[in-house]
């Protein structure tokens, strides 16, 4: 595939002037025109804001407020516990009424710790406004700090903390790639953002470029977004920016996926378990660029975002800018409410988004689309039939996997084989399930298998720890036993030695007695002053001798 009708002005010697392809993918019905031509609407400050402490990949934030606290707009509610995290801010002013677990947007409908703010409607900011910053005057490291403090995460959907991507000092970055390829049907929030606020996006890109210092900077935009592209060009021209180029990419789902987009633009593949930075590329969404602009130039944290509210289940589909923490129900009301046919409510697009049971959940940093669909629009999936191995899934898989084999192994719980067939390279784009003539919910099988493997792995780790503990206990017991045995053996040996000692003692006594006898004999033979003694005196001497002898033998004992 080549870029047709595009003329590039290349910034430096590194060029990415040829488009590449990725395997598979789908041309899907767009459904974007419903919202792409209507302006971004405003949503009133809701009476209650529900702000989850964790809205992104990484560690949960540490809560700094308690019920009863008054908070101002932009106040930090939860601080980032480390480099892999960002803080959460109050989207408007008011009173904290609860810090508790609330339903959050999640495929499994789970609850997370949230700060609930009763707004006062005054939207009061901090007393002291922070000064705007000229980004060119500051160090890239400081830039990353500012971006982290503003709570910015990837706004395309994955929610990866932005500062981590922007600050990878060990790697020289060749390309800063700005993702404006909004490939999932129905979603148009990036499209509208570009049409209405291209200047902010361009400023944000320039700030990020200052942080990354890449050789080249490209905005990739889908070839069906003419109005957005024109707005972008105008914004670039307005500031005489020639170092940023715009490249059209074909509208093939999932061309907006980071790995697929990088492949299209550069022909390079991000390693399976690696990151784009590993091959010298940083990829950022246009929404993130706008947030970066606000964070650095305006010193405003990320407290609002643009959300596409669409589908046949919505009375007046439109894009809205709303505060983070706004209930989905209020956003739907702003779009005229549900139609009577509404049956399914999706967060995200129709391919990778998830269905939720309830609209009493807040908009968070990664919520790009609220899709309410009718039964006619998306009927319940027909019952699954056996896989006939037609390999249509293989033909559309953008990760070059063999989905039919993965299904075979995942459904038979043969997880080793599934991993051998690269289950974890599956990006869950849903292409395989979309084309499956047997209507098998393939992605569900892969997700289940992944979860099972993670669980098994965790269990295995726990078991390993338990086994190591058990083994070390056994060896400790063994050691103690051995020591005890050694001590016993030594004692025994000592006792055995006593037997020999007895003999030695006896002989020693005997020797002493002999010596005494001998001495006595000598004494008796030598003339002494004991001659001519009375009988009485001799008796006393004999008694003393006996005593002495006894004493001597007693000493020997």
């Amino acid at each position: 595939m080549t870029a047709s009708g595009n003329s590039f002005k290349r910034p430096r010697e590194v060029t990415f002037d040829r488009l590449h392809t990725f395997h598979g993918g789908l041309r899907l019905p767009g459904h974007r025109e419903i919202t792409a031509n209507r302006p971004i609407g405003k949503v009133d400050i809701p009476p209650l804001l529900t702000i989850p402490l964790q809205q992104h990949i990484g560690n949960p934030g540490k809560c700094l407020v308690k019920p009863g606290d008054t908070v101002y707009k932009g106040q930090v509610l939860a601080e980032a516990p480390g480099r892999f995290s960002v803080p959460a801010h109050a989207s408007s002013s008011g009173t904290v009424i609860a810090v508790e677990e609330r339903l959050i947007p999640h495929p499994s409908g789970i609850k997370e710790n949230c700060v609930v703010i009763e707004t006062d409607g005054r939207d009061r900011g901090a007393d002291q406004q922070q000064d705007a910053i000229d980004y060119l005057q500051i160090e890239p490291a400081r830039l990353c700090e500012l971006i982290q403090q503003a709570g910015i995460v990837g706004m395309g959907g994955a929610g990866f903390p932005t500062q981590i991507k922007l600050c990878s000092p060990k790697q020289h970055i060749e390309l800063l790639l700005i993702n404006a390829a909004e490939c999932e049907p129905y979603i148009s929030c990036d499209n509208r953002l570009l049409q209405e606020r291209a200047t902010e996006v361009v400023e944000g890109i320039r700030i990020m470029r200052h942080g990354v210092q890449p050789d080249a900077c490209i905005i990739a935009i889908e070839d069906n977004m003419q109005a957005a592209e024109e707005a972008l060009r105008a914004a670039l021209d307005a500031v005489n920016e020639t170092g940023i180029t715009i490249t059209r990419v074909p509208e093939i789902y999932p061309s907006g996926g980071e790995r697929q987009l990088i492949r299209i633009l550069t022909g390079r593949e991000v390693p399976g378990q690696g990151y784009p930075a590993d091959i010298g590329i940083v990829c950022q969404n246009v929404g993130t660029a706008a947030a970066v602009y606000h964070a650095v130039s305006k010193r405003q944290p990320l407290i609002s975002r643009i959300v596409t509210v669409t589908g046949e289940g919505i009375a007046q589909p439109q894009n809205f800018e709303c505060l983070l923490g706004t209930p989905v129900s209020q956003l739907v009301s702003a779009a005229g409410g549900y139609t009577k046919d509404v049956e399914r409510l999706l967060i995200g697009g129709p391919m990778m988004g998830y269905a939720v049971q309830n609209d009493n959940i807040p908009v968070i940093k990664t919520t790009n689309c609220i899709l309410a669909v009718s039964r006619e629009e998306m009927p319940a999936p027909p019952p699954a039939q056996p896989c006939i191995r037609c390999a249509k899934c293989t033909d559309v898989c953008p990760a070059d996997l063999l989905p039919q084999q993965l299904y075979w192994y995942a459904s038979s719980n043969n997880y080793d084989a599934a991993q051998d067939y690269n289950l974890f390279d599956c990006i869950e784009c849903g292409c395989c399930a979309y084309v499956c003539p047997s209507h098998i919910p393939l992605v569900q099988y892969y997700r289940h298998a992944k979860t099972e493997i993670w669980t098994q792995e965790a269990q295995k780790q726990a078991a390993d720890i338990a086994r190591r503990r058990h083994e070390s206990r056994l060896s400790r017991l063994q050691r103690i036993k051995q020591q005890r045995a050694d001590r016993m053996a030594r004692k025994k040996q000592a006792l055995a030695g006593d037997d020999g000692g007895k003999d030695a003692k006896k002989s020693a006594i005997q020797a002493a007695l002999d010596r005494v006898k001998h001495k006595k004999e000598q004494t008796s033979s030598t003339p002494k002053n004991t001659d001519n003694l009375t009988a009485e005196q001799q008796r006393l001497i004999a008694e003393a001798d006996v005593r002495r002898q006894q004493k001597q033998s007693g000493n020997n004992n």
């Binding site: 391919m351 269905a355 896989c387 037609c390 033909d395 953008p398 063999l402 292409c431 084309v435």
Partner: protein, 343 residues
């Protein structure tokens, strides 16, 4: 308000097994009609008998297995198996031949292995090969191209074995071109002599060349509708043509032309409709090419040096055996697993 929840993707699905099978049946119509035109009513009787047997057998086994018989019948796979088997049978064969073939194909080759999606062998070809080995005589009863008996005569011949008064079986049946080549080459005739017989047409067997042509067209339509992928037909026809060309170049007196090979017997039916049965074929992109080439080469080898005039059925079954191994060794390189960066 409670909403319904399903797993992603949510966009309505784009196809179904029934539609695929229906398209296969539609694509078979031109070739089938051509076969009817040339070989007469027997072609349609075979299809009818095989189809009824196959559907009844499928429904019965599904009921025994406690599955929904209706859903099983509606996927259309049993019907496709029956039609493919019937198209491989000679038109004047007795009624119990398609019955036995269909029963074996559906009950033993398909359902006993677990039904649709689980059969290691192509059911139609398994049924056909059982018939070919068990009833060789009944499988030679081809009517003479263009000179077939009428509706009632055919019906009586198939149902009772009774020929119309004053006719012998030899008079209404005729060897197929491939059969005749095999016999007459054995009698030391050269191909150019053999081709002078009225059994041969413009570039292949009389009648057969047109049937093959129409199956080719049907197959191309299937390709265009994306019911099948190009690798298996291209591999099979390519393999067959290349090996045929090599031997033809060496000795055109005893080895027929690549064109003859491609448009004779079950070549086109095999390439587009039989070898492409997804369940028993190789499924990796590269594997499908090797699988097709294997069938092409084996078909030629069996046709030329084997004991049977045509070799498509045996070739397909042999490659069915090899498919899992081919799949194992032709796994595609996964995205991001090295070696994929284009400069």
């Amino acid at each position: 308000m409670e909403f319904k929840t399903y797993s992603s993707p949510h966009l309505p699905v784009s196809g179904s097994v029934s539609v695929m099978m229906l398209r296969v049946l539609l694509a078979l119509i031109p070739g089938t009609f051509c076969a009817f035109w040339i070989f007469g009513w027997g072609v349609l009787f075979n299809i009818l008998i095989a189809a009824i047997t196959a559907l009844l057998a499928e429904a019965m086994v599904l009921k025994l297995r406690g599955r929904s018989a209706l859903a099983g019948l509606l996927d259309g796979s049993a019907l496709v198996t029956a039609v493919l088997l019937a198209l491989a049978l000679p038109p004047l064969t007795p009624w119990w031949i398609p019955v036995i073939g269909s029963l074996f194909a559906i009950v033993i080759a398909k359902q006993l292995y677990g039904g649709l999606g689980y059969n290691p062998f192509n059911p139609a070809m398994a049924g056909y090969v059982v018939l070919l080995i068990s009833f060789p005589l009944e499988l030679t009863l081809w009517s003479a191209p263009g000179a077939h008996p009428g509706f009632m005569d055919t019906l009586s011949l198939i149902m009772t074995g009774n020929l119309p008064a004053g006719q012998s079986l030899d008079a209404v049946t005729m060897a197929t071109p491939m059969d005749s080549i095999k016999t007459r080459l054995g009698m030391s005739e050269t191909l150019s002599e053999i081709h002078n017989s009225p059994l041969f047409g413009s570039f292949a067997g009389a009648g057969w060349e047109w049937i093959n042509l129409w199956f080719l067209l049907g197959g191309l339509w299937l390709l265009q509708m994306k019911v099948i992928q190009w690798q298996i037909p291209a591999g099979m026809l390519g393999g067959l043509a290349v090996i045929a060309f090599i031997f033809y170049a060496v000795n055109p007196d005893i080895y027929s032309t690549p064109l003859f090979q491609l448009f004779s017997g079950a070549a086109m039916l095999g390439a587009f409709f039989i070898a492409t049965d997804p369940v028993s074929a190789s499924t990796t992109p590269r594997g499908r090419i090797y699988y097709g080439i294997g069938i092409g080469l084996l078909t030629y080898i069996i046709r030329t040096w084997g004991g049977y005039p045509d070799g498509v059925a045996f070739a397909v079954l042999l490659m069915n055996l090899a498919a899992p191994t081919i799949d194992y060794y032709t796994r595609p390189r996964v995205f991001g697993q090295g070696g994929g960066n284009t400069p």
